[in-house]
């Protein structure tokens, strides 16, 4: 693989939910270490696109290539061979995902949430996992919440724990699916700061977001989607500052930043 080869290559991707086609032939390359922001109105297919990448959604047509793994309508394959459930799980653990509803495990403490996968999936010792988790919790200012249950935390705190839970797996790729959409406005700042300072560090990342200012600040690429298509993509200053397409301009004008 050349250093400039895309980490994620999406070709002619189509996805339908029943009769509704939510992705209508998406072509997109994500270069290494890029931070790609995907913006667009609700229902444009942004979240679905991201969820296809780690195979939470099956796709109907086209292909997604990540390294030597290829996702098609037939499933997940590598070197022409269909992957087993365990191999798909291995593929997923290299891709961190943070969603808008946090999805912390409510029956586990903050520490339990974070160390479950490193100990269970990666085979770390409990002690190593706790050490690493504590270091990460310190970086997001939640060291004192290690023994708290998720239900006792604010949304912003829960989302920071969810980010730490993903990062401890040291994924090559991070996917953020509207990470601040479920948060009160005064809590989005702390989460965006953690994403910027901790999660994007040296990784390839895709962020679906409505926070245009944040997108402009952190991203290297911006993609504008509408109606299951990519309308425009390019540098943040260009797409968000001086959009070529009327539809992009209308959207940015409407969302007002």
């Amino acid at each position: 693989m050349q250093p400039s080869d895309p980490v994620i290559r999406i070709e002619k991707l189509r996805k339908r939910f029943g009769a509704l086609e939510v992705l209508r032939g998406i072509d997109l390359d994500v270069p290494p270490r890029a931070t790609m922001a995907i913006v667009g109105p609700s229902g444009s297919g942004k979240s679905t696109l991201v969820r296809c990448i780690n195979h939470l959604e099956r796709i109907n047509d086209g292909a997604i290539s990540v390294g030597d793994v290829k996702i098609t309508s037939a499933g997940v394959e590598s070197g022409g061979r269909k992957l087993s459930g365990r191999e798909v799980a291995n593929y997923r653990r290299g891709i961190g995902m943070v969603s808008q509803s946090f999805n912390l495990f409510p029956h586990l403490t903050v520490m339990g949430n974070i160390i479950e996968a490193p100990t269970g999936v990666l085979g770390w010792t409990r002690q190593d996992a706790i050490e690493r988790a504590t270091a990460l919790l310190r970086k997001v200012n939640l060291e004192d919440k290690a023994n708290a249950y998720p239900a006792t935390l604010s949304g912003g705190q829960q989302q920071r724990v969810a980010i730490v839970r993903s990062l401890i797996m040291d994924p090559k790729i991070m996917l953020f699916d509207e990470p601040t959409s479920a948060l009160d406005p005064e809590l989005t700042g702390e989460v965006l700061r953690v994403i910027r300072d901790l999660a994007l560090d040296g990784r390839t990342a895709i962020i679906v977001t409505h926070e245009l200012r944040f997108a402009r600040e952190v991203s290297s690429h911006v993609v504008f989607m509408e109606g299951g298509n990519i309308v425009e993509e390019g540098a943040p200053e260009q797409v968000l500052g001086d959009p070529r397409e009327v539809r992009t301009r209308t959207f940015i004008g409407r969302i007002g930043d």
Binding site: G85, R92, E116
Partner: protein
């Protein structure tokens, strides 16, 4: 009849009654344990993708839930020897029949519990690289279990009460022992009244104990999260 004389009778037969209580308790606990495991296997079967696995699991579940316990008991004890060529003693037959009955209900209870777990929990676990068996074991089933604990307790109480029926194939449970005492003393009213009270106290003690235990689970406001997520 004076109270002292009545008490004298119970005192005289205390070992008979105690033996019956032991059998009743052993039978209900063992059959519930068996049913808990069987029910989980069947439940996972009903959730399987392959129809070859799903169909027999669903059939088993429906059969267990839709046949009377008395019929199951007699069927296991008198028909199984001819169908499967194995003859069980009365206690084992009772154990199997009670486990059959409860496992059908528990399987349904588990299934409802698992299906009530938010899809996001599955997805978060998958995103962390957990395989299906691991995410079920570590994330989904523990949460589902806590949600359905009241239902499991309820089934345990039903199972406990159902044990009284095994006296018809001469398992020496509390009910059977009471019958023995009645035929020796010709005092059905006081004996059966006392036995009814004993069942009541036992069931009441069990359900109160489990209720108290389930309140002490280290859940840190688990149900609050659920409400929060629903908003």
């Amino acid at each position: 009849m004076s109270f002292t004389r009545l008490w004298g009778i119970f005192w005289e037969y205390r070992d008979v009654l105690l033996a019956g209580i032991k059998v009743t308790i052993a039978l209900s606990i063992l059959s519930m344990l068996l049913a808990a495991v069987l029910g989980l296997v069947v439940c996972l079967g009903t959730l399987a993708k392959s129809r070859l696995v799903r169909a027999p699991a669903v059939l088993y579940m429906e059969f267990c839930r839709n046949t009377p316990i008395l019929v199951q008991l007699v069927w296991v004890h008198y028909a199984w020897p001819e169908i499967f060529g194995i003859k069980f003693d009365a206690f084992t037959s009772s154990l199997i029949a009670l486990a059959l009955q409860s496992s059908g209900y528990l399987a349904e209870e588990y299934r409802a519990g698992i299906e009530s777990i938010d899809k996001g929990q599955f997805e978060a676990a998958q995103s962390l690289g957990m395989t299906y068996p691991r995410l079920m074991r570590k994330i989904v089933i523990p949460q589902a279990f806590i949600r359905i604990l009241p239902g499991i307790l309820n089934q345990f109480v039903i199972c406990f009460k159902s044990t009284s029926i095994v006296s018809i194939i001469a398992v020496p449970d509390l009910m059977y022992q009471a019958g023995l005492i009645v035929s020796a003393t010709f005092l059905p009213m006081p004996v059966y009244t006392a036995v009814a009270l004993m069942y009541f106290l036992l069931v009441f003690a069990v359900s109160s104990a489990v209720r108290m235990l389930s309140r002490k689970l280290p859940m840190g406001g688990y149900f609050q999260t659920q409400q929060h997520a629903a908003v």
